[in-house]
Subunit: 320 residues, 2 copies
Amino acid sequence: MALGEFELIDRYFRRPVRRAALGVGDDCALLQPRAGMQLAVSTDLLVEGRHFLSTVAPARLGHKALAVNLSDLAACGAEPLAFTLALSMPAVREDFLAPFAQGLLALADANGIELVGGDTTAGPLSIAITVFGEVPPGQALLRSGARVGDELWLSGTLGDARLALEAFRGQVQLSGEGFEQARRAMELPQPRVALGLALRGIASAAIDLSDGLLGDLGHVLRRSGCGATLYFDALPRSALLAAQPLALQRTCLLTGGDDYELLLAAPAARHDHMLAAANQTGVALTCVGRVEDAAQGLRVLDASGQALNLQGLAAFDHFR
Amino acid sequence: MALGEFELIDRYFRRPVRRAALGVGDDCALLQPRAGMQLAVSTDLLVEGRHFLSTVAPARLGHKALAVNLSDLAACGAEPLAFTLALSMPAVREDFLAPFAQGLLALADANGIELVGGDTTAGPLSIAITVFGEVPPGQALLRSGARVGDELWLSGTLGDARLALEAFRGQVQLSGEGFEQARRAMELPQPRVALGLALRGIASAAIDLSDGLLGDLGHVLRRSGCGATLYFDALPRSALLAAQPLALQRTCLLTGGDDYELLLAAPAARHDHMLAAANQTGVALTCVGRVEDAAQGLRVLDASGQALNLQGLAAFDHFR
């Protein structure tokens, strides 16, 4: 069945708007931000074969495309408001679009946000989403706020998404159950929106982990003019990953990518506030290191206090 | 020379922000909308081979990618504020990126807006831009505002972009000078931002012409619950197009696509206000028809008052 572009948008993506002044279907959407609030904006682009595999179920792809954007809002401590979707795909296939829209809009509903505009076209499968959120002026969590002496924290667990990728690549064998768990981590990341909101005024810096821990921590350190020490054994990991060979654990934890957990810095005096926020939002927070003077650089210590050799552990880069 | 993703963003796209509270380089950009203003948002996606030819100069592609988005703001009567860029390309090529960024940012500068965020990745060449603008509540120009008796107006001239496409396809022969003129229309559309702003409170409805006059007018009529009559001989066209065979003129004018001119409805009593806005902004406005009762449908009359046969003149659709 051949659907035209306009019918396609109507059928799958148009829904009554609740918060926006005007939604999909005019030249622009109209939003009414609350007076005085800052608008947080982020864009992420997902391309088949690079950000997702062709084997992903469309509903999970819809979820993930929005989740990675919401994760950016979470890292800013912004409250999600709305999003736009630019979707390119080879052909109009209802067996793709129906579940894709379902997965996308289910996560939107769970976060109380709506699709306010978009563009669809034929082309290689790619998804560009732009999200908008609100944050009171001066309260956004930034990459630049880490200070010497701050503790470093991670939400959730790291590395299962990379473990799934290694399994898809045939580099590691997992049990059926283990593979499903790892695959869920890769395909259904949970953006830490509530945690980001709870940490406004508590954390001093934040970033969401999309390119791997070392690379993303590097961004925070460069922006903040600091160094850091991480304790490898403290890095939170699933029992599944903890059962893998140590070299694989290092790869998955330190340079895994696709985690969409939050990396946070916070003054040591707010240690208990961090734990209270974790408790309040039901998301585990683990203290994994400390912010140091810039001259210290970035080092990762093992259980015996020896620095790991980080050579060859480069940050994931979508152009390398 | 191989540049990493982050150096790439730095080199070509990061510039000091002036109006935004925080620009490229954190998880989110932060914008501070003026109190009480509505935020107009639009997204357009351009894919190689479908929205532009591989022969386009990168500087012109940069211009066009932003221009088609600014055209949506123009059609809403919104003042441009900022934009994000999601760019996918096969490889990091400086001979592409440098002129692409130059063309993009020159148009941004001309409109007083800044790039506040983005994402770049390897993949098939495609460009998704999201623009933000401000408009006072209730003053946005909508597709739904046309009323029976309104006059219909067009900015600029139509059809040269389609004429260029037909020349590229080998369907029409143009002189060297004629081809360059048509090609400029296709590759360097001028978004009618100042005109859109000047027409707030004057025009009753507006849309920007991206998919062809008949199709886009159809959107306005459906949204407004009206019909319309267009006068074919009144449709504004270049001397170049006027010299082409009549059948080709019809195709280019009525279903051309890629015009990025504004189609407007306005009460007949505001005829002189429309002309004054045209004069003020230096953009020609031509009265080309009238809004009718819905029962009338959409018809196009020739000089003798005969209705043209519109069969076979379908709206351009990026999926057909």
